[in-house]
């Protein structure tokens, strides 16, 4: 058991409030990812759950029990730090068994638990090594091992993969996910990398400026972003945004060309922000006219930058392209893939919520 509930969490440093009332419910066993740009408060929120930061207002509950005033060790939570935070003077086994040793468990019991965790993480051969003798990925696994041996109610991960190189990151990503599927421990994972969020999460919490922007499953966020921010943050390359005007049931650019049908009924002449994903663009004979500005083949797919008037539009296609920069093209957007956001509030006018 290990459900987490956050009720109106506020945190201030002096007069500066960095968390403006966060509400969040995390089910037992769920893998939740907090994602957002630097300074959005995601790490602060995580550290508040851990008890390393005191919150200024609100309640943190684990299994319906308010734990605001409990010390970190009494919360039954384990945390994996960005820089691993291994004790350099202790061997891998001592690192992993440290919490048990502090809890005055018997040496044989510590040994058994450490070995079990090492087994899971494939660290058995490394138990006698010291952190300085390990590679980045191995250190990361030891840090996870240290969390596992305690069998906590909740795992917290604070950007655990950001110090690894790209290839290792992908590998560790799947290892962590696999580990979660095996242990089924409630997990809160902080990252600024939307791909990590998309690939690992059961549910993603997008944060911005100390507030929750949207909560949902990865595909919900992708298909029905609640705001321009979420739409732009999730997905790579990110969504194209373009100013448009509603006319009859179509969205028109300033060049009077039609992007397609409005996803929701809009008043005639209302200015909105139209959004569409790079992979939802098709080159066609009719549609919006544009010029090819840049072609970037990546192998599996090709990225094109199109220019129409003032706007640059990124599209991706799996077709092989025989165009060259400067060629005139027309494009259209796949049916039902057009998003519409209020020009002022930048909230979605269609799709999610």
């Amino acid at each position: 058991m290990g459900s987490v509930a956050l009720r109106n969490i506020r945190k201030s440093y002096g007069p500066v409030e960095v968390l403006h009332g966060i509400d969040l419910d995390i089910q037992d066993g769920e893998f939740t990812v907090l994602v957002g740009p630097s300074g959005c408060g995601k790490s602060t929120l995580l550290r508040s759950i851990a008890g390393l930061e005191t919150i200024t207002g609100g309640d943190i509950c684990i299994d319906e029990t308010v734990i605001n005033s409990l010390a970190p060790k009494e919360r039954n939570i384990a945390m994996v730090f960005q820089n691993y935070a291994l004790y350099p003077h202790m061997s891998v086994a001592k690192n992993m068994g440290f919490s048990l040793r502090l809890a005055k468990e018997s040496p044989s019991e510590i040994n058994r638990k450490v070995n079990a965790a090492a087994e899971i993480l494939d660290l058995t051969n490394l138990l006698d090594r010291y952190p300085r003798q390990l590679s980045g990925g191995q250190r990361q696994r030891v840090a996870m091992g240290r969390a596992i041996v305690r069998d906590p109610k909740v795992f917290l991960f604070d950007e655990p993969l950001s110090n690894l190189d790209a290839k290792l990151r992908v590998q560790m990503r799947s290892e962590i996910k696999e580990l979660h599927q095996r242990l089924k421990t409630t997990t809160v994972y902080v990252t600024h990398d939307q791909i990590e969020a998309m690939t690992m999460a059961d549910r993603i919490v997008v944060m911005r400026g100390g507030q929750v922007e949207q909560i949902g499953t990865p595909l919900e966020l992708y298909d029905r972003p609640a705001s321009v921010f979420v739409a732009g943050f999730i997905g790579s390359p990110s969504m194209n945004f373009i100013a448009a005007t509603a006319r009859d049931d179509g969205l028109l650019l300033d060049t009077d060309e039609s992007l397609g049908k409005t996803p929701v009924a809009l008043a005639n002449g209302r200015g909105v922000i139209a959004g569409f994903r790079p992979e939802d663009i098709r080159l066609s004979d009719t549609g919006v006219s544009a010029k090819v500005a840049l072609i970037e083949p990546t192998g599996a797919e090709t990225q094109l930058v199109l220019r129409t008037g003032e706007n640059s539009i990124v599209m991706t296609t799996r077709d092989r392209i025989s165009l060259s920069p400067g060629d005139p093209v027309h494009f259209s957007i796949s049916e039902g893939k057009l998003h519409c956001f209020d020009a002022e509030s930048e909230r979605a006018l269609s799709g999610a919520v």
Partner: protein
């Protein structure tokens, strides 16, 4: 090409080699030979004798000197480092007050030896010392206490003044080391359930082990070399009760002109110090920092 590079390299370090030979090896050799030379009233009388060492062994004062030196060096170093560690830990706390204290604490360190010694000598004076008078007027003691006149007390008084003088730098060095302990390790320890004492024992202490060793060895060398403080405050008295190696060597050479005996003591002193430092480094490298001693 390679050969000339190597010659050039030797030529470049030659000045340092000469300087070390001239200023370190030379005098050491000189003292060593002198310790094996019979000297009477400043006149050399024959080389190749162990007479100086025999004279020391027979000297009843020398036993007392060794005992006092042990208090001075071992007690002084131990207290200097432990008190320094305590103060350093306190100073490592982030607050406005500790910021000021960190600057102020160096004050004892920048004062000249002679000033420190004279100031403390008068403060501890048997009749007119402010400490003794305060104790008397507050009724804690019947009369004034002659801190430096009491053979049982004088050595420890010297050690206290020594710590007052040497501890601040130790505290500052350890404070800097403590402040550089990675926060995430301390936080990880908190998550692991370590209380403040356990965090200090299992995270802070191992992380500052290197600084702690260095500072211990350095203090020991400082304290061994410290001469002005005890000499000015007590001159080895009363009745040799505070005579230590440094002052006794001085007395033997510059008051009694027993160069040979003084040199013999210097040699003993050097070996003692080298042994202690070597032992300490050996023990330290092998065990306690790396948790594996258990």
């Amino acid at each position: 090409m390679l050969r000339s590079d190597r010659l050039l390299a030797y030529a470049m370090i030659l000045p340092v080699v000469i300087a070390v030979v001239a200023f370190v090896v030379g005098p050491t050799y000189n003292v060593a030979t002198l310790s094996l030379t019979q000297v009477v009233m400043g006149q050399e009388r024959g080389f190749g004798t162990l007479g100086n060492f025999r004279a020391l062994a027979a000297d009843p004062v020398f036993g007392l000197v060794l005992q006092n030196t042990a208090i001075w060096i071992l007690g002084g170093t131990f207290l200097c480092v432990t008190v320094g560690l305590g103060v350093g830990t306190f100073l490592a706390i982030d607050s406005r007050m500790t910021g000021w204290l960190r600057a102020l604490i160096l004050l004892p360190w920048v004062l000249p030896d002679v000033v420190t010694a004279m100031a403390w000598k008068w403060m501890l004076h048997g009749q007119v010392g402010i400490l003794g008078q305060t104790l008397q007027s507050s009724g804690l003691t019947e009369g004034t206490v002659s801190f430096l006149g009491d053979p049982d007390l004088v050595m420890w008084m010297l050690v206290i003044v020594l710590i007052w003088r040497k501890m601040p730098l130790v505290a500052l060095i350890l404070c800097a080391a403590i402040r550089s302990v990675p926060d995430d390790q301390l936080e990880a320890a908190r998550m692991d359930g370590a209380n403040a004492v356990e965090r200090f024992r299992f995270v802070t202490l191992p992380n500052i082990a290197f600084s702690l060793t260095a500072v211990t060895v350095i203090s020991m060398i400082w304290i061994t070399a410290e001469f002005a403080l005890p000499w000015i405050m007590t001159g080895g008295g009363p009745a040799n009760a505070s005579q230590i190696m440094a002052t006794y060597i001085y007395q033997q050479s510059f008051e009694f002109f027993n160069w040979g005996v003084a040199s013999a003591m210097s040699v003993i002193n050097l070996f003692m110090l080298a042994t202690i430092v070597a032992l300490y480094l050996y023990v330290n490298r092998r065990s306690w920092a790396s948790e594996e001693s258990k």
